[in-house]
């Protein structure tokens, strides 16, 4: 870390994906071996640098395919950078793909334990947090039913509750505040704000501009894998809106 006050420092980050046809079987490898030089490299992120201070909220905006989700996956370490470094200080929780590792044949209760264990939370801590998680999800008596029978809203609410209750220092949020009904959305937003006010750091990817300006301090606008603009939320959002919807721009 260059600055100990930062929770996240990203320096000169590049991420490339190989888009060649994948050789997953022996036949492909033997038969098509010589044709594997048709490898095309697509650069998804190019020379991206930014930092987030502890307690700060950073929003990442940009059109579809601009590299926002890849950026989050690099922050969580699901993906590894080709160049540059990501430095993080503190425990990370991600609200990226909710419900990963959920088992439809197990009850809500069992799934809370399994899901939280994937985040690296010891059983004792889950025991303590269990009531909070159930309470926040609003699942109520359905907690002992198999989640196969849950509605999609209930499923996501449970997943969100686990993720937000893992006691992290840094929260990565991808496009999930559309979870549940309006009431639950407000609850999520309030929880994010409480998390921030308690000193937590948040990185948020969203297409919802109102939401962005509401909670974020700073915004990064990614365009084709590069940082197009970086700065105060209201300002960047205004430029982004203009570029996306204004005359002459490629619309969405």
């Amino acid at each position: 870390m260059d600055d100990p006050g930062n929770a996240i420092e990203v320096r000169r980050l590049c991420k490339r994906f190989n888009t060649h046809r994948r050789s997953n079987s022996l036949k492909d490898l033997v038969v098509y071996h010589e044709r594997r030089d048709d490898t095309r490299v697509r650069e998804v992120l190019h020379d991206v640098s930014f930092s987030v201070p502890k307690g700060g909220v950073l929003g990442i905006i940009g059109r579809n395919g601009s590299g926002k989700s890849t950026m989050l996956k690099l922050l969580t370490r699901i993906l590894r950078p080709n160049e540059g470094t990501v430095e993080t200080d503190g425990k990370i929780a991600c609200l990226i793909e909710l419900g990963a590792g959920f088992h439809p044949d197990m009850t809500g209760r069992e799934n809370i334990y399994i899901n939280a264990s994937i985040f690296g939370i010891p059983k004792g801590v889950i025991d303590e947090r269990f009531d909070d998680i159930v309470e926040f999800s609003g699942i109520g008596e359905f907690i002992d039913e198999r989640i196969r029978n849950y509605s999609s809203g209930m499923y996501l609410r449970l997943a969100f509750s686990v993720a937000i209750n893992v006691d992290a220092d840094i929260l990565l949020v991808d496009e999930i505040l559309t979870v549940g009904d309006i009431q639950f959305q407000k609850k999520c937003m309030d929880r994010l704000k409480a998390f921030r006010d308690a000193g937590g750091t948040i990185v948020l990817v969203t297409h919802n501009i109102e939401q962005t300006t509401d909670i974020c301090d700073n915004i990064i606008w990614l365009d084709d894998g590069r940082v197009r603009e970086e700065g105060a939320a209201a300002e960047v959002c205004a430029h982004y809106k203009e570029a996306m919807l204004g005359p002459g721009a490629e619309g969405t």
């Binding site: 079987s25 699901i78 950078p81 470094t85 425990k91 264990s117």
Partner: protein
């Protein structure tokens, strides 16, 4: 603040240390135990016999070999059943870890692409769950040893935990490697099951290890790493002696080598799991 995965962490194109990898595993203890439980119990959920299926398949296998080799062929060995079972318990741990462990990264691709966790917990959980089955089978074997009056040697048994430890390291190394390779080449899983089918016959489980006078057969038997592990368990349960020092050293060397190679291969390949799966 739980602060398990806390502290500053730097990720670049290069990976962290092997030591860091194992340090991190301790945070994921509950994930490992959940996966092991799921593997043992959840696997046969919904079937009438459930959990028992973990033992029915190996049991039938042992009974079939027993019938073939005592009724049809006439073994030179006294107490052939004891000899067969003491080799089979370790073989089953080994072969089931390999055949199921090799597919575990691919089978959990969905989770692996969505959440960060140390990938090695997946093959490790398979090996551990098969180890639980192994231990239960050993316990049943003790019942047989007591019931038949064959008995045990206490000195030999003192060595059992060490033997299990060495076998665990060996099997883990092999399973780590195979699970990672299978992510890139799906055929690995199928090659493994074919290989295992042949492998059991070149391992002295159903017959006694000796010099057969056929150069080809003798070479294969001595090159087969499983020969030494099976011999170690024969010594403990069948011959009722502390395993010979040369056998033990051979097993230790094989285990250390396989673990080193297994971890190196796994770490090299794991970097791109999220992209190739």
């Amino acid at each position: 603040m739980t602060d398990s995965g806390g502290g500053t962490r730097r990720t670049g194109p290069r990976q962290g240390s092997v030591l860091g990898m194992f340090g991190e595993l301790s945070d994921y203890r509950s994930m490992i135990s959940n996966l092991v439980r799921r593997e043992i119990r959840g696997r046969y959920k919904g079937s009438v016999l459930g959990f028992l299926w973990n033992f029915i398949t190996p049991l039938i296998q042992i009974v079939v070999y027993l019938i073939v080799f005592t009724v049809i062929f006439d073994p030179d060995l006294d107490n052939y059943a004891i000899y067969l079972i003491s080799g089979m318990v370790i073989w089953i741990w080994f072969s089931e870890s390999m055949s199921e462990g090799s597919g575990t990264i691919v089978a959990n691709a969905d989770m692996l692409k969505k959440i960060y966790f140390p990938h090695v917990v997946l093959p490790l959980s398979t090996v551990l769950s098969k180890m639980v089955n192994f231990l239960i089978m050993v316990a049943m074997f003790f019942v047989i040893l007591a019931a038949t009056g064959y008995g045990v040697s206490v000195y030999a048994l003192l060595f059992l935990p060490v033997a299990i430890g060495i076998a665990f390291v060996f099997i883990s190394g092999l399973t780590f490697m195979l699970s990672a390779l299978n992510a890139y080449l799906r055929d690995v899983q199928y090659i493994v099951s074919v290989l295992l089918m042949a492998w059991i016959w070149i391992t002295p489980i159903m017959y006694e290890m000796k010099t057969f006078g056929n150069a080809f057969v003798d070479t294969i038997l001595s090159l087969n790493p499983m020969t030494y592990f099976v011999e170690m368990f024969h010594d403990i349960f069948y011959w009722r002696v502390v395993p010979g020092i040369d056998t033990v050293l051979m097993c230790c060397a094989l285990a250390a080598a396989l673990l080193a190679v297994g971890i190196a291969v796994f770490r090299y390949l794991e970097k791109d799991f999220a992209e190739v799966l």
